[in-house]
Amino acid sequence: MTDIPAPRHIPDRLDKPFRSAIFSWEALLVVVAVAIFAINSFASPYFLDPYSLSDLTFNFTEKGLIAFAMALLIISGEIDLSVAAIIALASTMMGMAVQAGAGTPVLVLIGIVVGLGCGAFNGLLVTRLGLPSIVVTIGTMSLFRGIAFIILGDQAYKGYPSSFAFFGQGYVWWVVSFELVLFLIAAVVYRFLLHRTSFGRRVFAIGNNPVAAQFSGVRVGRTKFILFCLTGLMSGIASVLITSRLGSTRPSIAQGYELEVITMVVLGGVSILGGAGSILGVVLAAFIMGLVTFGLGLLNVPGIVMSIFIGLLLIIVIALPIVWRRLRGGR
């Protein structure tokens, strides 16, 4: 029926051109980030101020936390569109707990457990029933946010304890926020997980060829299940941060975040087809998106116009290497 492709040469180490291509992707991101940083500091006198720069980090820390787990998930060849809905559901559950008189530790626990539970639900549907993740998570995206709407309707939960505000509004040292510290710790942890452990190698193996990975003894289903749980967990953590920062819960909280998170991951050089990507790229992409939105915000550019720049950035950064390769190849 179908031709079996000829066996490919598998080197012990990745050869040079490939390595330099990866290097140049991140180099490209660094160049873009530096350029935007420079343009911003020329364009607005308020930009190069420690407090401004500290505010800037809030633009990407919450989405960035989810983007790390999402990067692993996309590398393995799956996707999760329900992350923003998980935030809404976890936040709603925390709001209910507040009405019942729960304290800060219980709230954090609830946010994280609800996130983990939602992720596990996605994972079960995808791995146990063998369903395509893009469709499953479009469904659970409606389901999770739908439950939040059923519970809250057009109401809002308020009255979070003052100690709860630390997670989204607190500073660890001078202008360094708790969110930024968490983001950096998560970056290190995920970088280690993806690039330094056998689990990370398995994620790449699954993304490149799930069947071959299966025949090589990788438990594909279980690994993917863990990745969905991780993505749910990070969404739960992000929910704690956002709820704490806003101090209230509406069912429309974090609407549209899923596409921004995926944009961040793809901008970071993770192949949407799976099998390639790095955490460093995602960190850089998070910085770039934060810089663009914050810099334009200082110039009084409305949010909707900023989204044009983010969209253009996504397409141009993806298209540039392809056009460049083609131009060089044509000569």
Partner: protein, 326 residues
């Protein structure tokens, strides 16, 4: 194969009949022919959009920018109408189709010429087109009082007792039916979805066909732009925000496989009708509209579970990714 597809649509049709039956136990007037015609009319735009999305999904691609395209084109025709009320409506519809075509062609060119995955391209253009709407309008709204009476009235006029909007939907359904079952383009769309490599050997230009399907979905987005704006008589940046996922949901419920190659015009129409009936029924049977999201979410998951059981009988496709690359 064909009997199997038919089986699935009959199945979905039965589910819709049962749904209408259940609703009419609570609210008997719901099953009235007059009311069902109204539901069909209310769902027309979603049906048209689902058909446009269907041809894209069949080729293993996806168009996330349809709702933004709708928003942009709707704003263009609304502003044209507000500035030049003399432009006849049929010409305005042609303009909407052309604007949509251009937006779709941009998606298609990026997918065809640069080989960027369609989900990435349309994720980008989703935000770009909606942002462009803001730039075009300066954030202002076009209200009912700025639109001409023809602009609003055209789709509401009755022809043979049925509103023009419903007739447009019927026409689009008929055109897609002919396209998918009677033309070479329709066959190649299915072929690409089932096996892109084999399609190349069969002489099909995969890239060019993908370009064409994005042009089709773009034109559908543009047409829906006019229909949407003249139906809800307001053009703003917020129009149809997030609606792209409803369109995909209608396709999924209609049994169109996200992996490409499986699906039919009847399925897309029934999938859209299923969602339309739910949203129309909730208010009349006294369920809070806040339940709608969770219900359609559950319907999507249920539909995928049921459809996956059917697809599995086709046997395993080994090394799909490698095939797609070579």
């Amino acid at each position: 194969m064909k009997a199997f597809l038919k089986y699935r649509e009959i199945w979905l049709f039965a589910a819709i009949v049962v749904l209408i039956g259940l609703i009419s136990t609570r609210f008997p007037a719901f099953a009235d022919p007059g009311n069902l015609r109204q539901v069909f009319n209310d769902t027309s735009i979603l049906m048209i959009l689902a058909l446009g999305q269907m041809v894209v999904i069949l080729t293993r691609s996806i168009d996330l920018s349809m709702a933004s395209n709708l928003c942009f084109t709707g704003m263009v025709v609304a502003m044209l109408n507000a500035a030049h009320p003399a432009i006849p409506i049929p010409l305005l519809i042609v303009i909407a189709l052309l604007v949509g075509l251009v937006l779709g062609a941009i998606n298609g060119l990026l997918v065809w010429r640069l080989n960027i995955p369609s989900i990435v391209v349309t994720l980008g253009t989703l935000t770009i087109y909606r942002g462009a709407t803001f730039v075009l309008s300066g954030g202002a709204w076009v209200n009912a009082d700025k639109m001409s009476a023809d602009f609003i009235g055209f789709q509401r006029a009755a022809f043979l007792g049925i509103p023009v909007l419903s007739w447009i939907a019927i026409l689009v359904i008929a055109l897609f039916f002919i396209l998918m079952t009677r033309t070479a383009l329709g066959r190649s769309i299915y072929a690409i979805g089932v096996n892109p490599t084999a399609s190349v050997y069969a002489g099909i230009d995969v890239g060019r066909t993908k370009f064409i399907v994005f042009c089709i979905s773009g034109m559908i987005g543009g047409l829906s732009g006019y229909l949407w704006i003249s139906r809800y008589v307001i053009a703003s940046v917020e129009v149809a925000n997030g609606y792209e996922l409803n369109i995909i949901a209608a396709c999924v419920i209609g049994g169109i496989s996200i992996a490409g190659g499986i699906g039919s015009v009847g399925g897309a129409v029934l999938g859209a009708l299923f969602l339309g009936i739910i949203s129309n029924a909730l208010p009349v049977i006294n369920i809070s509209p806040f339940w709608q999201m969770a219900i359609s979410g559950s319907a999507i998951i249920l539909a995928v579970v049921l459809n996956a059981r059917g697809e599995r009988q086709q046997g395993r496709i080994i090394l799909r990714k490698v095939e797609a690359v070579t």
